[in-house]
């Protein structure tokens, strides 16, 4: 080594020597969690196939539209959960916060006659402040996030009862609030959205490829997977819009959910802030020494979690047309955390993707929806969902151990 000439260069990324062994060991990479989303999509296909065989109503346009509407609230909350999980922390208050913030919106709108937009804004800001406070308590006093947010879970449930007051249930009648979960766009709008999304995705992919090529990074080989990905995304979007259009049309709720997921993914993977979240989740001490304010990152992430809980809660209330004392309760908290974990975001921090919020919600939603179609008892539903979560966490733990065995953490 000491005689190595200076012109020996680090291999360029188009050097296939790095890729071909990986291609041969694609199974091992799936096992180690590098291709978690492939694993989940495969699982989703299996689940859909099983339910379609059991009941041929499962894959109909009307049921798939319902499925998407059912997962919106939990998916939105999961977007915040992903950020918390990337830090290697947990937020148990998300369900209670979603209920409380929805109640704030409903009370302001129904009891105090506020216009919907300011009411929604106050609700979302309340969620952000709650997250900020919990994050500050967690970092400021060094209390485990588990305990801080457990206290929050209890406290915000109490706050929900207090905000709702004696009535206990508030029915939402305002058109804009109801419209959040119940607006459908026409076929034309659906196709325009489809074209825009496809163009945006293809455009950014190709722009990135061209930019890399012009500065000499990446060779001709890289274009093939990019085109394959663009084609797959195009097919998926066209299929989804076609299905939705054949029923009630493209729901506003789905646009919102996917916009938050895509925006969250952008923040997580393309901005310095997102990079720092991964760094803190991977090695907080290394992040601190690199000059990253670990405290600020943590507080910001908990604020994101509170904000997304509020948004999810508002959509849940819109779909239910009411806020009541059990809003944000029951299994919402657990499902919102289980989803991203099922879809490959590690509980141990530093690994995951915001898309896992959507994919995980789809998996859990599909199981729940499918079992409803089969008219199974909710006892069975809970046990099956529990088994799926356990299986997913075991896969995560095995992937982690397998990475460690391969000399990785």
């Amino acid at each position: 080594m000491s005689t190595a000439p200076a012109e020996v260069t680090a291999p360029l990324p188009d050097d296939t020597s790095a890729d071909s062994p990986a291609q041969q060991n694609i199974f091992r990479r799936i096992l180690q969690g590098d291709l978690a989303s492939v694993r989940v999509i495969f699982g989703l296909i299996v689940i859909w196939a099983i339910f379609q065989i059991a009941n041929d109503h499962f894959l109909t346009a009307i049921n798939l539209t319902n499925l998407f509407l059912q997962i919106t609230a939990v998916g939105l909350i999961s977007v915040g959960v992903v950020f918390v999980l990337l830090l290697g922390e947990i937020d148990l208050s998300i369900g209670a916060v979603s209920g409380l913030c929805a109640a704030i919106v409903a009370v302001l709108n129904v009891k105090h006659g506020w216009a919907p937009i300011p009411a929604i804004a106050v609700g979302i800001i309340a969620g952000m402040i709650i997250g900020f406070v919990q994050g500050s308590l967690f970092t400021g006093f060094g209390i485990p996030s588990f305990v801080v947010t457990l206290a929050g879970l209890l406290a915000w449930q109490g706050a929900l009862l207090w905000v709702l007051g004696d009535t206990g249930t508030i029915n939402i009648t305002d058109n804009s609030l109801v419209g959040l979960a119940n607006t459908f766009y026409s076929s034309t709008v659906g196709w325009i959205v489809a074209v825009l999304v496809i163009a945006l995705y293809a455009g950014t992919s190709i722009f990135r490829y061209v930019r890399r090529s012009t500065v000499g990074l990446g060779g001709g080989q890289d274009i093939v997977p990019i085109i394959v990905r663009i084609v797959l995304v195009t097919v998926a979007i066209i299929a989804a819009i076609a299905i939705l259009n054949s029923n009630r049309g493209l729901p506003l709720a789905i646009i919102v959910l996917i916009a938050f997921v895509a925006g969250g993914e952008y923040v997580a993977t393309r901005t310095a802030f997102g990079r720092h979240i991964f760094a803190v989740g991977g090695n907080a001490e290394a992040a601190r020494r690199a000059g990253i304010s670990v405290h600020r990152i943590r507080i910001a992430v908990f604020a994101i979690s509170g904000t997304m809980s509020a948004i999810g809660g508002i959509f849940a209330a819109s779909r239910l047309l009411a806020v009541n004392q059990s809003s944000g309760g029951s299994d919402l908290l657990l499902l919102a955390i289980a989803g991203p974990v099922i879809a490959g975001t590690s509980l141990f921090g530093g690994r995951g993707s915001v898309w896992s919020a959507l994919l995980g919600a789809l998996v859990i939603g599909s199981i729940s929806n499918g079992m409803d179609l089969l008219a199974l008892d909710s006892s069975v539903k809970f046990m099956v969902t529990g088994a799926v979560l356990l299986a997913a966490v075991i896969v995560d733990a095995v992937a982690r151990r397998s990475r460690q065995a391969a000399g990785r953490v």
Binding site: M1, S2, A4, P5, A6, E7, V8, T9, A10, P11, L12, P13, D15, S17, A18, R208, R211, R212, V215, G216, L217, Y266, V267, R270, T271, A272, F273, R275, H276, F278, A279, G281, G282, N283, E285, A286, A287, R289, A290, G291, I292, G350, R351, R403, A406, G407, R408, V409
Partner: protein, 271 residues
């Protein structure tokens, strides 16, 4: 062996420390320590456990404030009050634990905390991955660092590769002095050779390198001069050409009492 430390009040070396003293309660960690690091030189810092090596490194990198110290950088008197001050002067430190994020790839680790913004970054907050990757290639090729790909996760790299990435990262701030804390500890033979070759290239690029090491074979392979610390004092500075491993071991352990500075004396028992 230079005996009583350099004289004169205007040291000409790149980084000069005089009279560094640091006390932790009853423990005198550093006692009147002095040091000169020249550009294009590898200075090894050796000593037994508890001799004060780590404390000295932390003083130089600004983590500990010395109770008393005079410091010159490039001939100017400076202060090393905090890590930022040391970094601004051009002193980069690579700690033994490397402080890398195993879940991030090489480029992400290299630029962690100093990411490049894309041209539209003011609006989009986006990162310029292309530029960072390009600069990573340049940096690593300059140092002849061999890794599978700059997009490999750092957790998948070998110990030697990780060490090289950590060193490369310290160079992004364009330092003049690089401090390496036990860079070859826990490395195999081939990986140690890689890291030592990298240390030599740092010297060729005109950097002053301070290398803390337990391994005298490594020290004799790359260092130009050796500073021996014993019980918080400078037990001697040796030119590698004019000394032997036995002489260094003697200075480390204090076995050759005649070689002591006289201010510790033979009564001191090695820790």
């Amino acid at each position: 062996m230079s005996d009583d430390g350099p004289q004169g009040d205007q040291p000409q070396s790149l980084l000069a420390l005089r009279g560094v003293t640091k006390r932790f309660g009853p423990v005198q960690a550093l006692d009147d320590v002095w040091l000169d690091i020249n550009a294009g030189e590898v200075l090894a810092l050796v000593g037994d456990n508890g001799a004060g090596k780590s404390t000295l490194v932390k003083v130089i990198s600004g983590i500990y404030a010395a109770d008393r110290a005079a410091v010159w950088f490039d001939g100017r008197p400076v202060s090393l009050g905090n890590p930022t001050a040391a970094t601004r002067l051009g002193i980069a430190t690579v700690y033994q634990d490397l402080a890398l994020c195993d879940n991030l790839d090489v480029v992400e680790n290299l630029f962690l905390g100093r990411e490049e913004r894309s041209p539209l970054g003011v609006v989009t907050r986006g990162l310029d991955e292309t530029k960072m990757e390009q600069r990573s290639h340049e940096l690593l090729s300059n140092l002849a660092v061999t890794i599978p790909s700059v997009r490999s996760e750092v957790g998948t790299l070998s110990g030697g590769q990780r060490q090289q990435v950590a060193v490369a990262r310290s160079l992004l701030g364009e330092p003049k002095v690089v401090i390496l804390d036990e860079p070859t500890a826990a490395l195999g033979v081939a990986q140690t050779a890689q890291v030592l070759a990298l240390v030599k290239r740092l010297r060729e690029q005109g950097l002053g390198v301070l290398m803390i090491s337990h391994n005298l074979a490594d020290v004799f392979e790359v260092a130009d001069r050796v500073v021996v610390l014993r019980l918080g004092k400078v037990a001697g500075v040796y030119s590698v050409r004019d000394t032997t491993q036995e002489e260094i071991v003697g200075a480390i352990t204090g076995a050759e009492f005649g070689r002591n500075q006289g201010n510790g004396g033979p009564t001191e028992v090695p820790a």
